[in-house]
C-alpha cells in the first residue's frame, strides 16, 4: 500500500501536453454546461423575488448557493467517473451533480420544488439524492464525507472497482468529520477520493483567518495518504490529479486527497453583497471558462463553430430542464408527511 505523504505539487501548465485533445474539449464542454445551468438558475431565482429581495418568494425559494467559478473541479474530477461511482457534494452541489451525469430535468424539478423532482420537492437544492448516479449532498459542512466512506466500504466489499468521491470546501477542513473520515478511510484503505474546493471564503471568513495550514495537501500527510494541491483553478491540473487518485482507489490502494484552489465567482448565496471581499472588482477577470476557452483556441483545439455548437447545446439542455420543471406539478400539501418512513 502506498502511504507516501506527497508534497504539494504544482500542476502542469494548461496546454502542457498532458491531456488528450478530445478530453480537453470535453472538459470545456462540461464546464460550459455547468455554467449555463447556473446562469439560468440565477435568472429564474431572481425573476420573482421582488419588490426588494424576499428570500422565501418565487418559483425557486430559499437559500441558493451557485457554483460559478468552481466548474474546473467538477469537470476535472468527474471526467474519470462513471455513474457506478459515488459522489457526495456540499451545499453548493450543482456543478458536481451535472458533471457526474445527473438527469437535468429531475434535478431542476427538485430545485423548483416539484413532484417530479429527485426528492419529490422534499429536498431542495442542497439535498439532491440520485440513486442512478450514486449522488448525494449535504448542507452540513464536512458531514458529507462520512457517508462516502460507507459507499466506498460497500464498493470495497463488492470488489467491482467502484470509487466514492467526497467533496467539501476548505472551510470543512477544520471540522471533526473531515479528519475522522480521512483517518478511517486511510486505515481501512477505502476507495475514496477526498476533494477540497478551496474557494478562499467560508461565507465571509477568509481561509487565512481560519487555519495556520497553508495547504490541505499537508493535512493528508497527517493520515499517511497522498495529498495534491492544484493551483490556479486549472482544470487540466485537476484532471491529472484526479486521474492518479481515482486509479489508486480503483486499484484498492486506498484514499487520496486533492485540494483545488478554485474561485467563488459569485456570492456565498444569492443576495450576498460580498462587502467583505476586497478583491471583488477583480474576480471576474479570473473566470476559468473564458480563460480555458482561450487556451484551447490558441492550441487549435477549438474554433468558433465548435464553441457556438457547445454553448447552444448546453443552452438547449438547460432550458429544456427548466421548462420541464416549470410545467411539473407542485406536490400535494396533503402529502407533506409522506416518505418519512419506507
Amino acid at each position: 500500500m502506498t502511504t507516501h505523504a506527497a508534497p504539494s505539487t504544482s500542476s502542469p501548465e494548461p496546454g502542457g501536453g498532458f491531456v488528450d485533445p478530445d478530453v480537453r474539449v470535453r472538459l470545456y464542454e462540461t464546464m460550459v454546461l455547468c455554467r449555463t445551468y447556473e446562469e439560468a438558475i440565477l435568472r429564474e431565482y431572481h425573476a420573482d423575488k421582488g419588490p426588494g429581495f424576499d428570500i422565501g418568494k418565487g418559483l425557486v425559494p430559499g437559500e441558493m448557493h451557485l457554483s460559478a467559478g468552481q466548474e474546473p473541479v467538477a469537470a476535472g474530477v468527474c471526467a474519470h467517473l462513471t455513474e457506478e461511482d459515488a459522489v457526495t457534494a456540499t451545499h453548493r452541489p450543482h456543478h458536481l451533480a451535472i458533471a457526474h451525469g445527473m438527469d437535468l430535468r429531475r434535478m431542476t424539478a427538485e430545485i423548483f420544488g416539484r413532484e417530479t423532482g429527485l426528492g419529490r420537492g422534499r429536498g431542495g437544492h442542497m439535498h439532491l439524492f440520485d440513486p442512478a448516479t450514486h449522488f448525494s449532498c449535504s448542507g452540513i459542512i464536512a458531514e458529507g464525507y462520512p457517508p462516502a466512506l460507507g459507499q466506498a466500504f460497500a464498493f470495497q466489499r463488492r470488489g467491482g472497482g467502484q470509487v466514492a468521491v467526497a467533496v467539501t470546501g476548505e472551510g470543512a477542513a477544520n471540522q471533526g468529520g473531515f479528519h475522522e473520515s480521512l483517518n478511517l478511510a486511510a486505515r481501512w484503505a477505502l476507495p475514496v477520493v477526498f476533494v477540497v474546493e478551496d474557494n478562499d471564503w467560508a461565507i465571509s471568513v477568509p481561509r487565512s483567518a481560519s487555519t495556520a495550514v497553508g495547504s490541505n495537501a499537508d493535512r493528508a500527510a497527517a493520515y499517511g495518504i497522498p495529498g495534491d494541491r492544484v493551483e490556479d483553478n486549472d482544470v487540466e491540473g485537476v484532471y491529472d490529479a484526479a486521474r492518479r487518485a481515482v486509479a489508486r482507489a480503483r486499484a484498492g490502494e486506498g484514499p487520496s486527497l486533492i485540494e483545488v484552489h478554485t474561485l467563488r465567482l459569485w456570492g456565498h448565496f444569492e443576495g450576498d453583497a460580498q462587502g467583505y471581499r476586497p478583491e471583488l472588482a477583480d474576480v471576474s477577470a479570473h473566470d476559468p471558462i473564458p480563460r480555458y476557452e482561450q487556451t484551447l483556441r490558441a492550441g487549435g483545439h477549438l474554433a468558433d463553430a465548435a464553441v457556438a455548437r457547445i454553448k447552444d447545446a448546453a443552452k438547449e439542455r438547460v432550458e429544456d430542464a427548466i421548462t420541464y420543471a416549470k410545467n411539473s406539478p407542485v406536490p400535494d400539501p396533503a402529502s407533506a408527511t409522506s416518505y418519512v418512513f419506507a
Binding site: G119, R122, I140, P146, G150, Q151, F153, S181, L184
Partner: protein, 348 residues
Amino acid sequence: MTIIDTPAAPAPRASHRLTTSKAMVEAIAQEMERDPSVFYLGEDVGAYGGIFSSTTGLLERFGPQRVIDTPISETAFIGLGIGAAVEGMRPIVELMFADFMGVCLDQIYNHMAKIHYESGGNVKVPMVLTTAVGGGYSDGAQHSQCLWGTFAHLPGMKVVVPSTPADAKGLMTSAIRDDNPVIYMFHKGVMGLPWMAKNARSTDDVPEGDYTVPIGKARVAREGSDVTVVTLSLSVHHALDVAESVAGEGIDVEVIDLRSLVPLDREAILTSVGKTGRLVVVDEDYCSFGLSGEVVATVADHDPRMLRVPVQRVAVPDVPIPYAHALEYAVLPRQDRIEKAVRTAVAG
C-alpha cells in the same frame, strides 16, 4: 371437491432460557447467517464482545470482515454505516453509550434519519443503531442517560427499547429486516450482565429459531384493572415488582411495556387507560418535554375524560444523573417512587 378448513393449531414453540444480551446476540447471529449484507460495526465489538455483551462470540463466528472494531470516531463510523446502507448493505452500528450521541448527532438526525424523506422515498437507509442506555450503577452524568425521548422526537428513525430477553431477540430481528433506520436501545440493567445488579427477569424464555416482534406494538406485561402503568425498559421490571407487592392489598396494576417509541402504540395506551381510568407513567428519561408528556398527551388528545384522577409521572427530575449512590437513587424511577405514585393514583 370439498375443502375442509382445518387450520393446524400452532405448534408449541421451542424455547430456551437466555439472558437479554444473549438473546440479542442470537438474533444478530441468525440474521448474519441468513443475510450476507448484515455486519456489525462499533467500538470494542470484536474481541471484547461489546462492553455490555451485545456482540459476545460474534467475532469468533463471523470473523473480522463482518464484526468490525472501529476507532473512537463515531461521526466517521456512523456515517460509514449510512453510506453502506444507502448502497444496499444492512449495517448494525453500535454507539457504545447513548450519552455519546453528542459527538455524532449530525450523522444520526440530519443524515441517517432524513435521507429517505429528502429523497422522496428514492433512497432507503436500512440500518440499525444499537446503543446502551440507563443508570443505576453510579456511572455519573455522562454515562447513565436514557435519552430515548430525544431520539424519538427527531423524525425519520424508528426507536425500539426491549425490556425482556424474548423482545430483545424479536425486536432485533425486526430492526435488521426493516428498511428504515432503527435505534435499538438496550438498558444495561436488563442485559443480565454478571458484573452489574440484575433484575430477576433478565434471564427468561426465548423462542428458538426465527423470531420477530413487530415494531410499534406495545405489550401488556401484566393485566390489571385498577391503574395503568405505562413504561418501558428496566422500569418495566420495577413496575412489575410494585404490582406484585401491592397485589396482596387488592390493588390490581396493569403494566404496559411500550417496547417501541417510534411508532408509538397509542392504541394500547388508550385501551388500558380506558379500562382503568388511572394513569401512571414511569420513564427513566428526563421528565420535561419527553416521553411521559407524550403519553399523557395521547390520552388528553383522545378524551381527557378517560382519566378519573390526575396523572402521575415518575421520571428523572430535570437534573443531570448524579454520581453518589444515594443521590442517583433519589432521581431514578425506582420501586419506592413508583409505588407511591400507584397508591396516590388509586386513592384518588
